[in-house]
Amino acid sequence: MSTLQRPVRRYLGRPDSIAPGHVPGVPGSSFEARRAADRTGLLWLIKAISGGLLIVFLGLHLIAQHLLVPGGLRDFASVVDYLRQPLALVTETLLVASVLVHAAIATRTFAAELVRNAGTLRVVSVVIALAAVATFGYTVWLTISVLSWSA
């Protein structure tokens, strides 16, 4: 287990293997400054984990929402009954969350290829993150409004 501490400290805390100093012959190449800004490994890991979760939750979603439902589509009442069950509510919410995380990171990768300037990229990344959070907020609101509709 001890080696797993290292990626945790590397990506989340103070990395233990900060380069002691300057790379001779390569101007201005001290890695400490760059180290803090670059957590791409963590982004990749989150994208992979969210991808894995997606396979599970999307599978459940397809089965619960389409396969088991006669005709494949739920009418309004059926949607409400389904979402009333706490387990269904949780899995649908986690599905939305992992989709948004996964899509956000992937979109940022696209952006990183198009945008050359590091500053602009940071801005674009923040915008993408906000969009994802906003979308998640909207789905929560929509779910509440659907559930409260019948009350």
């Binding site: 190449s29 991808g51 396979i55 397809l62 589509l73 929509l142 409004s145 659907v146």
Partner: protein
């Protein structure tokens, strides 16, 4: 971009158009290229569908009458065919992602091309089954 990368750049500038389309430059002899390109294409397709799906679901806020009237159109044949293709894109994208994760952890690194073949096969199979379930059952 650190100094090592700047050295690697060595003055080679790549324009915006090429940066946006480099992944579409075909390398038919390398299955990994097709895996990468299709992964992106299916990713974009699914993202597009999700946006549409969000818009459609927002109709729920209009209550039962608004929503239930939509069911007829979304249950119609063209939409069902669309759904099957969508499932194809999703299954491929999922399995292709799984392939990259496996390779990252050293599984199947000697057969990365064959792994892609497997991804194609399995996703096609799943899509066929889903298609049968949606269209003919």
């Amino acid at each position: 971009m650190d100094d090592i990368s700047r050295q690697v750049a060595g003055g080679r500038q790549i324009g915006l158009f090429r940066r946006a389309t480099y992944w579409l430059e075909p390398r038919w002899r390398d299955p990994g290229w097709l895996a990468f390109a299709m992964n992106r294409l299916t990713g974009v397709i699914v993202l597009g569908y999700l946006v549409a799906h969000m818009v459609v679901l927002s109709q729920l806020a209009a209550g039962p009458s608004g929503w239930d009237s939509l069911l007829a159109t979304f249950g119609s044949q063209p939409f069902l065919v669309g759904d099957t293709l969508l499932i194809g894109a999703v299954t491929f994208h999922a399995l292709s992602g799984a392939r990259v994760i496996m390779l990252t952890f050293g599984i199947g690194t000697r057969h990365s091309g064959a792994l892609f073949g497997l991804v194609l096969l399995v996703s096609a199979g799943l899509t066929a089954m889903a298609g049968w379930a949606i269209l003919f059952r």
